[in-house]
């Protein structure tokens, strides 16, 4: 690690409330240590704003280790910024150059209204899970864990899909604001596992219907979701979702 520092010009989306109009404000962010994370850079700016008697920039964050999915804004047009497979909290300032201008905005999607500044309401993702992103097992009903072997390759693929952190970057990246990558990750995880098969048809139909109802767009294969996903969720999950959906819609009892 080196202890250099850089000066940046920030253009940050400021919006006092969900109904108020917003606009980009310019701030000078001088002397930012390059070993600081992007959110620590915002902390520094907020400290300075506070001491100058101004209201600090509101942004969501919590774990700061790239796993809770709470952070995520659009940095220079890209959700979570320029580094691949990196959440905003794991993006470090060494990836910026002295003198850079950095534009920071909330996600732009109808289903994610802005609450304040960079804070958005992403509860639509919880609603998609409520529609069927679970296996219906009550506590106490389970059989002995090893009574149901799961082929390792299937378990590994299920884990790849399950790594989704629900940050919504895929939706922000998609020109249609489609939630297909998010939804397909959950559908894939359960479709790949024998435990998930009994409800597979019902799940695919219900989750897709819910997603459509919430105002998310459709997938037209731009693949930008995969490119911006901080956890590297593959669009092959969308193909699996489509197969599950078609199977369910055409041949299951559920339709």
């Amino acid at each position: 690690m080196s202890s250099k520092s850089i000066n940046l010009t920030l253009k940050v989306w400021r919006q006092p409330g969900s109904k108020a109009a917003g606009r980009l404000e310019t701030y000078q962010a001088d002397n930012i240590p390059t070993d600081a994370s992007f959110l620590e850079m915002l902390d520094i700016v907020n400290q300075r704003l506070t001491l100058a008697g101004k209201e600090p920039i509101a942004f969501d964050h919590d774990c700061r280790e790239g796993i809770c999915g709470m952070c995520g804004t659009v940095v220079n047009g890209r959700p979570h910024g320029p580094e691949r497979e990196t959440t905003l909290c794991q993006l470090h300032m060494r990836h910026f150059k002295d003198g850079d201008t950095v534009v920071i905005e909330p996600y732009r999607a109808r289903a994610f209204p802005v609450i304040k500044d960079l804070v958005m309401d992403r509860s639509a993702l919880d609603q998609i899970i409520m529609a069927g992103g679970f296996i219906s097992v009550n506590t106490g009903q389970a059989a002995e864990a090893n009574s149901l072997p799961v082929p390792k390759d299937k378990a590994d693929l299920a884990m790849d899909a399950a790594a989704c952190i629900g940050c919504g970057a895929c939706i922000a990246a998609c020109p249609n604001a489609s939630a297909m990558l998010f939804t397909s990750a959950k559908i894939s995880q359960f479709a790949l596992l024998p435990q998930g098969r009994p409800e597979a048809a019902k799940r695919a139909l219900a989750m897709v219907a819910c997603m459509d109802g919430l105002g998310f767009g459709n997938c037209t294969n731009h693949k930008e979701c995969e490119m911006e996903c901080p956890k590297g969720i593959s669009i092959s999950n969308i193909a699996r979702l489509n197969r599950e959906f078609i199977k369910a819609a055409l041949v299951s009892q559920e339709k």
Binding site: Q47, E83, G196
Partner: protein
């Protein structure tokens, strides 16, 4: 303060079953008449909400995050213990119980820990049924790995994201109940007070973090699952939002606070590198399965690690603790790292780091195998430190990680306030003076899935409840207090930020109450913390209003509570006249620097009782009685 632990009589193996039988039941039709509030949606709160709703109770669940899926349990990496004995390596419920009691340095209750070991296997069964993608062997059966403080492989894992997967499992069960209408979910709410009516916990007062509105919620029982207080050290591995506020406000309403000085310093974290730093990142203990910890033999050696020949390296954990080696428990490993750095053998720019080296494992297993086991951790390290750990050894140093202390609860997980239950890290119950790796996930899920659904009925069926609405005077009084506090924070308009005060508090706590404690330094810390607290209330600046989203205000309330709570932690550390587990008072140590317990005078749970504003809390104790295990000096040599 009455401290009846309500431990059932009889043999250890049948206590839990007997307890469940002895407690009154609530019939299914009557369950519909009860409302239960659950605060927190981590492993404990999420699993409790789902399980209670499955039983037919009406559940209202609160969390500070925008979604219940984001609670900090999600960041747990390494795994979850269970006594399945799938590897056929001599494990059993008894051994998991014994390892946990011993790992906690004989400062936890036998009955609680035994129950934890008993239900551990049910947790794995349930989580597999929920579709959690645990690691598997080629035959399709579940894989295991080793963790600190155990000589068997009993840890189940999902890559380096076990906490995430278990939490998403609990979250999916919770959302299923939300969809059924059995749970009402209140995200972005912060609990600011507990409301008592006739001495019973009957509701909470919360701040809606979006609108700023102060809301009142009633219930027949309140379950707190609000996590630990490691952020009292400012820099910790906890999430930025983790706080003591809900637990502390319950303490002020009469809930005893147990063993606050038992705080765990985790040995394998990325070292501190600048004062802008907001948190520390854990590198899972599972890395010590294959990584070897070392420092240069010579003090002040500034060569790069690859330039230091094998015979000039001190693999000190393997040298001092040959039978456990790099898998020595956390408290022991942390103190050993500190000793090495105190002796001038520390590495890196600050000299406060040791190496965790994978060269030998990469040679033995190949880089692809190491990547399969720990890939995401290596990637995370590289992002933060900008060095490739496949080539250069990781640098690690201990950091504040977990709180074994918490609100006191009886065997049924009820606090000293009737109707207030406390689960997971927020309670004190199972880990004694030191928690073993992969045991936090086990405890959170044990409490939520299997304990509370079987104990809360005893309280509900055995109590009388007055009709209480949110217009009750107790709510009015509580709201008035909460609003006054919020207004006061906004009105100070001083010259220093909330974060600045929090950092000051953290520096004092780490410096004077961290891995090595002395009476003199603890006493001095009390004075220093009191000074910071006094300045806070005169000189903090909290911008913005209370009528909308105001993150500075949220933090101000949390830091104000940490400033008060820190004094209880320091008092508890002073009152414990011994070293045990993570609490290491330098006056009580063996010739080779290990913790020296005093089983005659100190075998108890210290429980602090609120005595009023600016008054010293009252000390109470619950004696720990060991009927089934023999207290021994902990040795991992």
């Amino acid at each position: 303060m009455q401290l009846d632990a309500k431990i059932p009589a009889g043999p250890l193996e049948t206590k839990w079953e007997k307890n469940c039988f002895d407690l009154k039941l609530v019939n299914p039709a009557n369950k519909r008449k009860f409302e239960i509030i659950v605060v927190g949606t981590g492993l404990a709160g999420g699993s409790a909400s789902a399980s209670l709703a499955e039983l037919g109770y009406n559940v209202k669940t609160f969390c500070i995050q925008d979604s219940p899926r984001r609670a900090h349990s999600i960041a747990a990496q390494g795994g979850i213990n269970a006594a399945k004995n799938y590897p056929n390596d001599g494990d059993s419920v008894w051994r998991l119980f014994y390892d946990t009691i011993k790992g906690g340095d004989f400062r936890s209750r036998e009955a609680n820990v035994y129950r934890l070991a008993q239900v551990s296997n049910l947790i794995i069964d349930h989580c597999v049924a929920q579709g959690i993608p645990f690691a598997r062997e080629y035959g399709g059966l579940l894989g295991n790995r080793s963790f600190g403080g155990a000589q068997v492989s009993r840890t189940f894992y999902a890559r380096g994201q076990t906490g995430q997967q278990l939490l998403l499992g609990a979250y999916s069960s919770l959302m299923r109940q939300v969809a059924r209408g059995q749970v009402t979910m209140f995200p972005r709410r912060e609990m600011l007070d507990l409301v008592l009516v006739d001495g019973q916990a009957r509701g909470i007062v919360v701040r809606n973090l979006i609108t700023g509105e102060i809301e009142r919620h009633t219930a027949h029982a309140v379950v707190l699952a609000t996590g630990g207080y490691a952020n009292v050290f400012y820099l910790s591995t906890n999430g930025m939002g983790c706080n003591v506020t809900a637990a502390f406000r319950a303490y002020k309403k009469g809930a005893g606070f147990a063993n606050p000085c038992f705080t765990q310093i985790h040995p394998t974290c990325i070292p501190v590198h600048g004062d802008y730093q907001s948190k520390l990142t854990l590198m899972s203990e599972s890395l010590r399965n294959d990584g070897r910890v070392w420092v240069p033999k010579q003090t002040g050696d500034t060569r790069r690690p690859e330039e230091i020949p094998e015979d000039e390296r001190d693999y000190y954990l393997e040298r001092i603790y040959p039978s456990f080696g790099n898998l020595a428990p956390r408290d022991i490993s942390s103190r050993a790292a500190k000793r090495m750095c105190d002796e001038g053998k520390g590495v890196g720019p600050t000299g406060r780091a040791v190496y965790l080296d994978f060269a030998e494992a990469i040679q033995r297993l190949g880089q692809p195998e190491i990547a399969a086991r720990y890939g995401n951790l290596f990637q995370m390290y590289e992002k933060i430190v900008a060095e490739n750990p496949y080539k250069t050894p990781m640098m690690i140093y201990p950091a504040s990680h977990y709180a074994m202390g918490g609100l006191w609860v009886d065997y049924n997980l009820m606090s000293t306030i009737p109707g207030l239950f406390v689960l997971g890290e927020a309670n004190f119950s199972d880990h004694g003076a030191n928690r073993l790796g992969a045991s936090a996930l086990m405890q959170g899920l044990a409490d939520g899935y299997f304990v509370i659904p079987n104990t809360i009925n005893g309280y509900l069926a055995g109590s009388r409840f007055a009709e209480v609405t949110d217009r009750h005077p107790a709510f009015k009084e509580s709201v008035a207090e909460v609003v006054a506090k919020v207004k006061r924070l906004l009105s100070i308009k001083g010259k220093r930020t909330v974060q600045d005060f929090h950092r000051d508090l953290g520096n004092i706590m780490w410096e004077y109450c961290g891995m090595g404690r002395t009476d003199e330094r603890l006493t001095k810390a009390r004075k220093l913390v009191a000074d910071v607290k006094a300045e806070f209330w005169e000189n903090v600046t909290v911008p913005g209003s209370r009528a909308d989203l105001n993150q500075s205000l949220e933090n101000a309330g949390r830091v104000a509570d940490f400033l008060e709570f820190a004094d209880i932690l320091l008092l508890d550390a002073l009152a414990r006249r011994e070293s045990c587990g993570c609490h290491f008072n330098e006056a009580f140590q063996t010739a080779d620097h290990e913790a020296l317990r005093d089983d005659v005078n100190m075998s108890h749970v210290a429980v602090w009782e609120y005595a009023g504003e600016d008054k010293e809390p009252i000390f109470n104790k619950e004696p720990l009685v060991y009927e089934f295990v023999k207290l021994a000096t902990r040795s991992y040599k």
